[in-house]
C-alpha cells in the first residue's frame, strides 16, 4: 500500500496553512439600494478549503447580510452555482488554491437570470424550461409485473446526462441564453437527452418536436461554454449535438 501523497499532504498540514484572501463580491439588495456594487472582504483561510467555506466565513464572522444558497457542500445538490473569477462554478467544489488566491477572488451571481439578492437568482425560468421538455419516462401499453429489461449498453447510452443536478451553471454560461431568455438552454436539452436516448422511453418524437421549436436546439452555437461550466463533467455540447442529429435522422 503506497502512501506518498498523504505524507506530502500531512507535512504541508503541519505548517500553518492559513493565507489571507480577498473576496470581491457583487452585492445587491433592492431593499437597500437599486444599484449593485462590488464589496471586498479579507479573510484568513486554508487554501485547501472551498470558496463556499470562504463565503461562510464572511457571512458568519463579518457580514450576516451576505446571501447565497447552499446545502450539501460537496457538489451534489446544485444550490451554489455562481460566477467565480468570471467562470461559472459550484462554490462548494472550487478550492481556493485552484483559483489564484494571490489576487482578489471575484464572486457574482450567475448571468441571464434575475438577481434577487447578492448571489441569489430567480430560478423559476430555468426550472420552467426543464419542465417544458417532458422530463419524465413515458411508456405505452401495460406495465410489466417485474422491471423493464434494459441491457447494460442501452443503459450506458444516456448515462452521462443522468448526472445532471440542475445547477444552471451551463445555461447561465450560454451567450445565446444571455441574449434571449426564451431559449430552452443547455440544461433542459441535457434532460431531454436523458429520456430521448433511454431505450425504455416512447416519447422521444414528442420531445424532439418541442426542441425543434424556434427556441430549441437550433439556437445552440456550439460555443462549449456549457461543457466547460458543468460541475458534473457532463459533455453538454455533445448531448446537444446528439439531439440535433436525432432531429435530422429521427434515429435515436
Amino acid at each position: 500500500m503506497a502512501t506518498p501523497t498523504l505524507d506530502k499532504m500531512e507535512a504541508a498540514a503541519a505548517a500553518s496553512p492559513y493565507i489571507t484572501v480577498t473576496f470581491r463580491i457583487r452585492r445587491y439588495n433592492p431593499e437597500v439600494s437599486a444599484e449593485a456594487e462590488w464589496q471586498d472582504f479579507q479573510i484568513e483561510i486554508d487554501p485547501k478549503e472551498r470558496v463556499l467555506d470562504g463565503l461562510h466565513k464572511i457571512k458568519w464572522d463579518l457580514d450576516g447580510t451576505l446571501t447565497f444558497r447552499r446545502s450539501c457542500a460537496h457538489g451534489i445538490c446544485g444550490s451554489d452555482a455562481m460566477r467565480i473569477n468570471g467562470k461559472n462554478r459550484l462554490a462548494c467544489k472550487t478550492l481556493i488554491k485552484d483559483i489564484n488566491p494571490e489576487k482578489p477572488i471575484t464572486v457574482e451571481a450567475i448571468k441571464g437570470l434575475t438577481v434577487m439578492k447578492d448571489l441569489v437568482v430567480d430560478m423559476e425560468p430555468f426550472f420552467q424550461a426543464y419542465r417544458d421538455v417532458m422530463p419524465f419516462l413515458v411508456t405505452k401499453g401495460n406495465e410489466p409485473t417485474r422491471e423493464r429489461l434494459q441491457s447494460a449498453e442501452d443503459r450506458e447510452r444516456f448515462d452521462d446526462t443522468t448526472k445532471c443536478i440542475l445547477c444552471a451553471a451551463c445555461t447561465s454560461s450560454c451567450p445565446v441564453f444571455w441574449n434571449d431568455g426564451q431559449y430552452f438552454g443547455p440544461a433542459a436539452i441535457v434532460n431531454a437527452h436523458r429520456f430521448i436516448f433511454d431505450s425504455r422511453d416512447e416519447a422521444g418524437e414528442q420531445r424532439l418536436e418541442i426542441l425543434n421549436d424556434k427556441d430549441g436546439v437550433w439556437r445552440c452555437r456550439t460555443t462549449f461554454n456549457c461543457t466547460d461550466a458543468c460541475p458534473r463533467g457532463i459533455e453538454v455540447t455533445k448531448a446537444i449535438q446528439e439531439v440535433k442529429r436525432a432531429l435530422i435522422t429521427r434515429r435515436f
Partner: protein, 584 residues
C-alpha cells in the same frame, strides 16, 4: 399573513416527501412546502443503494432481509414494521424502475445488486447482494426520478417555504392537526396552511455535529416543530456514525466502496476489521465498524501525524471498476483531498450520518401523541420519523427504502384521511408563535452570535456524544447545551430585512438544533446500556431486561415557564425474532 387551504400538506420534498406527494396528489388537493428546491434535498447525496430482496443475482428473500434489519438494529426494531419494510421493498424498487430510475443492470438486463454492510444470506451466513443501485449516485437518481414524476403528476410545490410551527387543536378532548405555519424566504411573509392532513418529511438533524455527512440545511425543523407542541420524540439517543467520512470534512464515502472490495487499514497496513468481525469483516454493521476504527485510533494505530484517522484502501481494485461503480466518491477524494484513489489510500474517520430516532409513527405513518394514541390528521415519513424500522442502528440501503415504502404509505393514508374528514378550525392567531419568534430575532440587540453558538454546540456534540459515550461526557454535553440554550435567548442577527433573509433562518435553525441536542443528550444519559449506535463505555453491554424499550421524550414546561425533557418508554414490538447476541 396569508391563509391557504389544502386537503393535504406535505412538509419537505426529499425522497419521502415526493414519494408521498405522488400518491397524495392523485387522491387529494395537495401542496408540498419545502425549504429547498426539491432537487436540492439531501436524498440526492445518498450513494450506495436501496435494499430489496429481488434475488436478481443470487438467492434472497424478504424474511432474511427482515432478520438482518432487526439484528442490525440491535433488537430495538419494531418487528412488524421491519417485515413491512422488507416485503414492500420489492415493489418499492420496481415502482421506481417503472417511474424511470436508471438502475445499473445485470447482463440479463434486470436490476443489478451488490453487497452492503449487515445484509446477509440466511440469517448471517455470508454477505448477500441485496442493494439495488445506480453507480454511486442512487440517491441522486431517486431524487431526480421522483421529481420528474412530480412534474408529470403536476404536484404543486411551494419552494423555499420554511415550516416553523405545527398547529394542533383540541377537539372533544382529542388533539388534532389543523395545519402548519410557514415562512417564505423570498419575501419574509408568513403563511398559514390549513390542511386536513399534514405529512412531515423534512429529513434529519445531523447538523448538531461538526463532522457530518449531512447538509447544512439538515436542522431537524420538523422534529422541533412537533416537539415544541408537546408531541414526543422517539429514540433520539440513537444516531448513526458512518465509518467512512472524508477525514475532517465528514463527506461520505459510501459503504458500497467496501461492498466493491475496499478494505480498512490502520497505520501498519493491517486489515483490522478481521479482528473485530471475523465473518463480515469490513462489511460488519456500521456501529461496529465505527467503534473498531476509534479503537484502533485510541490504541495508537491511527494514521497521520496526529494518528486521528485510518485508511480506506481501494488501490487493489481495478481502475475500471472504480470508474464504473464508484465514480463520484473517487472524484470526491480527488477534489477535496487531492488524492488519486487508484494508487493512494483515502484518509477517513467516522462521520455523523443518520438519525434513527424522530417523530414516532405507526406503520401507516400516523404520528403518535404517546405510546398508543394517534394524532388525527398528522403523519410523518422518512428520516424525520421513527416507525421504528431502524431501531438502534440503521443498515445501509434501508433508508432509501424507508423513504419510499413509508413515504408512499403515508401519502396514501393522509389523502384517505383528508377525503373522509373535515378541516379542523384554525386556532386564534395561528401565526402568532412564528411571528413572535421572527420579530424577536429581527429586533434583538443581543450580543450572542449564531455562528459561535453553533460551533460550540457542534464541538460539544462531537466530543461528548459521538461514537463513545460515558455518564461523564454526556453530562458535560447536557450542561453545555443548557448554557447554549440560555445564551441563545440573547442571540441577534445582522440582516434585519425581509428579502431572502438567510441570516434569520440560520438563527431559527440553530434554535431547533439546540432543542434537539438537548433531547438527544438527555435520552442518552438515561440509557445505561450499549445498543447499536448508542455506546456507553460505562455500560458496555446491551441490557434487554431494563432497556429493550423505546425512549419517548416529551417537552415539559414547569410552573416557572422553564422547559425540560421528560422521558418515558414504549415497548418494542417483537414478532419472530427473540434478541440474540449480535456477532458479525
Amino acid at each position: 399573513m396569508k391563509i391557504h387551504k389544502y386537503d393535504t400538506v406535505i412538509v419537505g420534498a426529499g425522497g419521502a416527501g415526493m414519494r408521498a406527494a405522488i400518491e397524495a396528489t392523485k387522491r387529494s388537493r395537495t401542496a408540498v412546502l419545502t425549504k429547498l428546491y426539491p432537487t436540492r434535498s439531501h436524498t440526492g447525496a445518498a450513494q450506495g443503494g436501496m435494499a430489496a430482496a429481488l434475488a436478481n443475482v443470487e438467492d434472497d428473500n424478504w424474511e432474511w432481509h427482515t432478520f438482518d434489519t432487526v439484528k442490525g438494529g440491535d433488537y430495538l426494531v419494531d418487528q412488524d414494521a421491519a417485515e413491512i419494510l422488507a416485503k414492500e421493498a420489492i415493489d418499492a424498487v420496481l415502482d421506481l424502475e417503472k417511474m424511470g430510475l436508471p438502475f445499473n443492470r445485470t447482463p440479463d438486463g434486470t436490476i443489478d445488486q451488490r453487497r452492503f454492510g449487515g445484509h446477509s444470506r440466511n440469517h448471517g451466513e455470508a454477505p448477500v447482494r441485496r442493494s439495488c443501485y445506480a453507480a454511486d449516485r442512487t440517491g441522486h437518481m431517486i431524487l431526480q426520478t421522483l421529481y420528474q414524476n412530480c412534474v408529470k403528476e403536476g404536484v404543486e410545490f411551494f419552494n423555499e417555504f420554511y415550516v416553523l410551527d405545527q398547529l394542533l387543536v383540541e377537539v372533544d378532548g382529542v388533539k388534532k392537526s389543523a395545519g402548519v405555519v410557514a415562512y417564505e424566504l423570498a419575501t419574509g411573509e408568513i403563511h398559514v396552511f390549513q390542511a386536513k392532513a399534514v405529512i412531515y418529511a423534512s429529513g434529519g438533524t445531523g447538523k448538531f455535529f461538526k463532522v457530518t455527512s449531512n447538509a447544512h440545511t439538515l436542522t431537524g425543523d420538523g422534529q422541533a416543530a412537533c416537539y415544541r407542541r408537546g408531541l414526543p420524540l422517539e429514540d433520539m439517543e440513537f444516531f448513526q456514525f458512518h465509518p467512512t467520512g472524508i477525514w475532517r470534512m465528514g463527506i461520505l464515502l459510501t459503504e458500497g466502496a467496501r461492498g466493491e472490495g475496499g478494505i480498512l487499514r490502520n497505520k501498519d497496513g493491517e486489515r483490522f476489521m478481521e479482528k473485530y468481525a471475523p465473518v463480515m469483516k469490513d462489511l460488519a454493521s456500521r456501529d461496529v465498524v465505527s467503534r473498531s476504527i476509534y479503537t484502533e485510533i485510541r490504541e495508537g494505530r491511527g494514521c497521520g501525524p496526529a494518528g486521528d484517522h485510518v485508511y480506506l484502501d481501494l488501490t487493489h481494485l481495478p481502475p475500471e471498476q472504480l470508474d464504473a461503480k464508484l465514480p463520484d466518491i473517487t472524484e470526491f477524494a480527488r477534489t477535496y483531498l487531492g488524492i488519486e484513489p487508484y494508487t493512494d489510500p483515502i484518509p477517513i474517520q467516522p462521520t455523523a450520518h443518520y438519525a434513527m430516532g424522530g417523530i414516532p409513527t405507526n406503520v401507516e405513518g400516523e404520528v403518535l401523541a404517546d405510546n398508543t394514541t394517534v394524532v388525527p390528521g398528522l403523519y410523518a415519513a422518512g428520516e424525520v420519523a421513527c416507525v421504528s424500522v431502524h431501531g438502534a442502528n440503521r443498515l445501509g440501503t434501508n433508508s432509501l427504502l424507508d423513504i419510499n415504502v413509508f413515504g408512499k404509505r403515508s401519502g396514501i393514508a393522509a389523502a384517505k384521511y383528508a377525503a373522509e374528514n373535515d378541516y379542523v378550525e384554525l386556532p386564534e392567531n395561528p401565526a402568532q408563535q412564528v411571528a413572535d419568534l421572527v420579530e424577536h430575532l429581527r429586533n434583538s440587540t443581543g450580543t450572542e452570535r449564531v455562528a459561535d453558538l453553533r460551533l460550540e454546540l457542534q464541538e460539544t456534540m462531537d466530543a461528548n456524544v459521538m461514537v463513545f459515550r460515558t455518564e461523564q461526557t454526556i453530562k458535560t454535553a447536557v450542561e453545555k447545551i443548557a448554557e447554549l440554550r440560555e445564551r441563545y435567548k440573547n442571540v441577534s442577527v445582522q440582516d434585519k430585512g425581509k428579502r431572502f433573509n438567510t441570516d434569520l433562518l440560520e438563527a431559527i435553525e440553530l434554535g431547533n438544533l439546540l432543542d434537539l441536542a438537548e433531547v438527544m443528550a438527555v435520552s442518552a444519559l438515561a440509557r445505561k446500556e450499549s445498543r447499536g449506535g448508542h455506546y456507553r463505555e460505562d455500560y458496555p453491554n446491551r441490557d434487554d431486561v431494563n432497556f429493550m424499550r423505546h425512549t419517548m421524550a416529551y417537552r415539559e414546561v414547569g410552573a416557572d415557564g422553564k422547559d425540560s425533557v421528560r422521558l418515558d418508554y414504549k415497548p418494542v414490538v417483537v414478532t419472530r425474532y427473540q434478541p440474540m447476541e449480535r456477532k458479525y
